[in-house]
Amino acid sequence: MAEKRFKILLGKPGLDGHDVGVKVLAHALVDNGFDVVYSGLRKPIDRIVGMAVENEVDAIGLSILSGTHLVLCEQMKDEMSKRDLAIPWIVGGNIPDDDVAAIERLGAMAAFPTGTGLDEVVDYFKKLAKEKKRTV
């Protein structure tokens, strides 16, 4: 039986309309063998988490560039615990260094600020996939 491929939901929570980066990452992940689901713009956190469940994804990536990351990560934490989910999630975008630890404390596995290379993020997901013993 063919092994299931590692599936990632890329989400754009909040009102931020900057989607160049998240789409570039989506292309890179697909090129590297991942299954990618994209939420589209301006989705509330509960919708994004709902999409993650419906699509049975293995991980969630949130792209946030407007500076609202702490507010949205707080909502993410609440939503994940409300639904008792353990899907790993990460955040990318305009993230000040000082906020990385705070985001991780809220339950994100990692935070990738502006300037992070595509390879670094792709490798991170590869590592997660390996841990979950999924093919890429």
Partner: protein
């Protein structure tokens, strides 16, 4: 991936190819100009087809307008910032709004949590504009509103505040961005579905043509299309197709091209190859003039003018060694001036990772002032005119942009391609190719993938977000909702709905609602009741 790589290597051995796909010769001669176009097309500045500029004397008569993007937090803070910018010699204001305002939500909407006043000024009611523009000579300072999805409400508010402070609408100059079609490609502050969105853009164009004749009711933005991943030719071609969509819709209302075309304006991007950008603007200016005259049969030369703000694009700046961005931006400013722009704005050097600090914003302002006052850039018109290379490339850019526009029409037209997401998909693929080219060193960015040095990593930064300011704004909104004449508000909102259903021009009804202190969210909601909301095609 390997296909692109081998193509890139081949290009390198074969020659120099611009982003737009045009090959560059090592030397240009008078024959190059003749081989690519008609020398008569170069013409004179101020004369059709305006290759060398839309005015006979250009900056010799008046330098380009400097207009930096500003606006954050509360109306009070924005007001102070504007007074500071005016005192420092800025002649135009460019207002940034927060995301709730841009997407038609009130400050107390649940989706607005954490966003009130964050990336720009928050506006809920006319009271906010009354505070921001108090004491500013609206008939002298040109005000540009960076607003699209909710443009009809904010333009109505601007006109209402100008009237309230005693300015004649006929004397108002300034610009509303009001280019919704590009929001579906990049930036993403759409609200309504595509067709009613275009209708609202045209309502503003139509209304302003008769009531606010000196105001530019739309600024068609190639800028964000380029920033989303388009090449320079696509930037111009898509922007022109979008502008034509607005023109076609306006003409369908029975207006004459010469009644409004002269007030259309454009917003373009600058980054990438120096000469390619200059030729892009010169070629596009000529092409636009020809389109308006030949296709739309304009009789007034002014209708044929490509009036533009052209500024340094954020896409060219790097987070690495950010001070290098000061040098880049100075070149972008030079490109802009050599291209005959009407208005200039530069990104600040720290904009790749933060909202500009005061110091960085000042360096941008000074960069443009140095160009005007020290470099002699205003002494003579179109100093590159006649250059074998620039004129040849101008010819090539003109024909390549025209060709790209034909392709868009052949695929079903820009509105259809945007509604289906096909344009967005193509651009997104290109953005990925560009990123890969940077990552594997085919596209060089100094300090990023060459001449890198170990430096202290710079953290991304934001203006500290003020919860207190957000609370103040919300409290203010609630007070206005309580104090206003609610019957008048409800009546005015009912009129907005009725006029939308009857397919009337909505400006009069929205102005009426704004004057009754109906909120941005309420007026947008009334329109959503009739038009529904845009459903984004999901693609990448």
């Amino acid at each position: 991936m390997s296909k692109t790589e081998s193509k890139g290597k081949k290009d390198k051995t074969r020659g120099v190819v611009l982003e737009s796909g045009i090959e560059v010769d090592p030397l240009y001669t008078p024959e190059s100009i003749n081989a690519t176009g008609s020398p008569a097309d170069i013409g004179r500045p101020g004369q059709y087809p305006f290759t060398r500029g839309i005015h006979p004397l250009m900056y010799r008569k008046r330098p380009f307008t400097i207009r930096q993007y500003a606006g954050f937090g509360t109306p009070t803070e924005t007001h102070e910032r504007f007074l500071y910018l005016i005192a420092n010699g800025q002649t135009g204001l460019n207002v940034a709004f927060d995301l709730p305002t841009q997407t038609g939500l009130d400050s107390d909407d649940p989706m607005a949590t954490g966003e009130v006043g964050r990336v720009g000024m928050s506006v809920d009611t006319l009271a906010d504009f009354e505070e921001v523009f108090e004491g500013i000579d609206l008939d002298k300072i040109t005000v540009s509103l960076t607003i699209n999805g909710s443009a009809i409400v904010l333009v109505a508010m601007y006109l209402a505040v100008a009237q309230k402070y005693g300015f004649d609408l006929k004397s108002l100059r300034g610009t509303a961005q009001n280019d919704i079609l590009k929001e579906f490609i990049g930036r993403g502050t759409w609200v309504f579905p595509v067709d009613p969105s275009v209708k609202l853009v045209v309502d503003i164009i139509e209304y302003c043509a008769s009531e606010v004749p000196k105001y530019s009711p739309v600024s068609v933005c190639g800028y964000h299309i380029r920033e989303s991943g388009a090449n320079p030719v696509q930037e111009m071609a898509y922007a022109f197709c979008i502008a034509k969509a607005y023109i076609d819709e306006t003409l369908r209302r029975g207006m004459d091209i010469d009644e409004f075309a002269s007030r259309l304006s454009f917003n373009f991007d600058i980054h990438g190859n120096f000469f390619e950008q200059i030729a892009k603007f010169r070629g596009a200016r000529r092409l636009w003039a020809k389109i308006i005259k030949e296709e739309y049969k304009a009789k007034d030369d002014k209708s044929c003018w490509l009036r533009m703000i052209a500024g340094g694009g954020g896409g060219g700046l790097t987070k690495e060694q950010p001070e290098n961005n000061i040098a880049r931006s100075a070149y972008y400013a030079l490109i802009s001036a050599l291209s005959g722009t009407q208005t200039m704005a530069l990104c600040s050097y720290d904009e790749a990772y933060t909202i500009p600090t005061e110091k960085a914003a000042e360096i941008s302002l000074r960069t443009m002032q140095i160009l005007i006052h020290e470099m002699g850039i205003c002494d003579t018109v179109d100093p590159l005119g006649g250059s074998y290379y620039v004129e040849t490339l101008t010819n090539q850019m003109e024909s390549t942009i025209r060709q790209q526009m034909h392709e868009v029409d052949g695929w079903g037209g820009i509105v259809k391609l945007i509604a289906s997401g096909d344009i967005q998909k193509a651009i997104s693929q290109q953005a990925y190719e560009r990123e890969k080219a940077i990552q594997d060193g085919r596209l060089l960015k100094v300090g990023l993938n060459c001449y890198r040095k170990e430096e202290e990593a710079r953290s991304v930064g934001f203006h500290p977000y003020s919860e207190e300011n957000a609370r103040t704004q919300i409290a203010r909104l609630k007070k206005i909702r309580k104090d206003r004449d609610s019957e008048r508000v409800q009546k005015s909102l009912a009129r907005v709905r009725k006029d939308a259903e009857d397919n009337r021009n909505l400006m009069p009804a929205v102005i009426d609602a704004v004057k009754a202190y109906a909120t941005v969210g309420e007026i947008t909601k009334a329109l959503k009741d009739v038009y529904g909301e845009y459903e984004e095609p999901i693609y990448f």
